[in-house]
Symmetry: C2
Subunit: 334 residues, 2 copies
Amino acid sequence: MRDVAARAGVTKQTVSNVLNNPVVVAPGTVARVNAAIAELGYVRNLTARGLATGQSMIVGFIVPTVSNPFYSEIVEEVEACLESRGYNLLLCTTRGDAARAARHLRTLVGRSIDGLLVAGDSDLDSHLPLLDNASFPYVLCAWETEAPANIPVVTIDYEWAGYLAGAHLRDLGHRDVAVIAHLPAHGTRVEGFRKAMAEAGVLVPDAAVYSAVGGVAAGQVLHQALADHPGLTAVMTSHDVLALGILEETRALGLPVPAELSVVSIDDVMADRHAHPPLTSVALPKRAMARRAVEMVLDSGSGRRRATTALLVPELVVRASTSLIGAVKPLPAS
Amino acid sequence: MRDVAARAGVTKQTVSNVLNNPVVVAPGTVARVNAAIAELGYVRNLTARGLATGQSMIVGFIVPTVSNPFYSEIVEEVEACLESRGYNLLLCTTRGDAARAARHLRTLVGRSIDGLLVAGDSDLDSHLPLLDNASFPYVLCAWETEAPANIPVVTIDYEWAGYLAGAHLRDLGHRDVAVIAHLPAHGTRVEGFRKAMAEAGVLVPDAAVYSAVGGVAAGQVLHQALADHPGLTAVMTSHDVLALGILEETRALGLPVPAELSVVSIDDVMADRHAHPPLTSVALPKRAMARRAVEMVLDSGSGRRRATTALLVPELVVRASTSLIGAVKPLPAS
DNA sequence: GTGAAAGCGCTAACAA
DNA sequence: TTGTTAGCGCTTTCAC
């Protein structure tokens, strides 16, 4: 910067002024400075700028993993929003490792990042106090369990998502249903589901709620559920990874969906559209949540700084994996 | 830091010394300083440290997307390696947008990051000169097209991957084959495939090489290929997303795999294992590549700084989607 | 083993 | 409109 200043016959400060907007600089000077910048191939050092301003133009994001379509979509949207506002993304994954999550948190506090988004409750709950020393705003994101008070959180109404799935099955006439869920993480979704079924007077017993991690496991669990509940007409899964696994399994079993078993899920991942049959799922507004979260951290300086909660509402997307109970069975696909 | 120093009755410098290894500090002093740090909840400012040392402990990574299993796996491994060495990851996605890629590159040059990994050749080829001004080492990664000379690159022998797929089909006796590929990006893989087939004297004509982006499109293209080549006994796809789409389609078509059509692919994504049938695929050593790339950028300071090229070799993983030509057809799954 | 001084490259506030 | 002075929080060099 000093070199640029010298070459343009001005001081560092003037160079700084043409680089930043606020101060008006004489057109001639601007031209000379820009010429010098171009000739020297100068790029301003953002670290130094960050130290001087206290703004790093970096936002951190702690996420459990990126190899899950739910999170990878959120990460992409967050990155896109940040980029459009001139920020960069510092990505940290926890991978189900609480110690690692804590390490990340500690490092981030030391970095003067301009904000932090935290998704993936399970690994972090207990370590959140580390952020007390943080000099930047942070918001919790995609938080499914009870969020600590006084911390802004933008999340989805997961219970409502479960309710919508349940109401759908209920309205289709299903009464003998099972749930396959990623527990305990998705407990809220199951509660919502139960509430919807309860409105038709049907109680979903614990014996009809199975736990599974991953699509393959879900497939196995389906066998169990089918054996336990011979009258079963429908299944809800707590997220699409499980549902996709179940769809695979029904195909192997020769069990026609939705004719003999309706399957409804939660998340609405892109692959759902192309599943066989296309999966009925409650769409979680991931991208909207991502955008909201970014706005929230970045704008938390201006205006009120109080903890706010944004609760986005999911919507049912009906495709072909659910049908009225007792509907005529179509012939198996030729 | 000044406060810590005051509380411990020493100077900033001494605090700095206990924080960093090199200088030996009296045990008593160390204890007092650490106590002060703990009491004050002090965390050292990495921006300031970065400005002073020229080391930010941040490595950048430019990738096309994270919602593709190939890249998300690489991103995860890169992040893990960096974390274990005390670095953080600055993630940039290009999303097939060259302008955006260029913007990212420009910003990164201004950040004093300690290194940069660049994957996703197609969007960036032409903008690479922007890195000439960079003050940090960078390495190209997962580069499939011709890499610019004099830049270190760690990638995979994609042609060999194609060759392995071809050799597998060839050794199984297949002669009438088609290729469905993400072109032009995966052209190298197709070339390798052709070489393997050529060794059995079979020429794969351009008319048997189809282009498709995405699994659904691949499914459509399969119809076309089947119509064009009635004698078709095997298909190679250039990556697993396409193969998975094709497997779905064969199921809808009632075309048994591998009895009537063998399918071999390239990549070996986790989902392959659980596909129906499990997909035979040439495994690209993504995680090894990620590790190598991280080592390469971070260690490029020490020792020789010359451009090096690491070419990792893929390996065929035989599962159940390929079989000897003319093998007995199993009955369709009950 | 510890302290004092200088400086990393930039911006903030004010003075000219 | 431009220049001057300070200082962001840390490390480095060297003297004590």
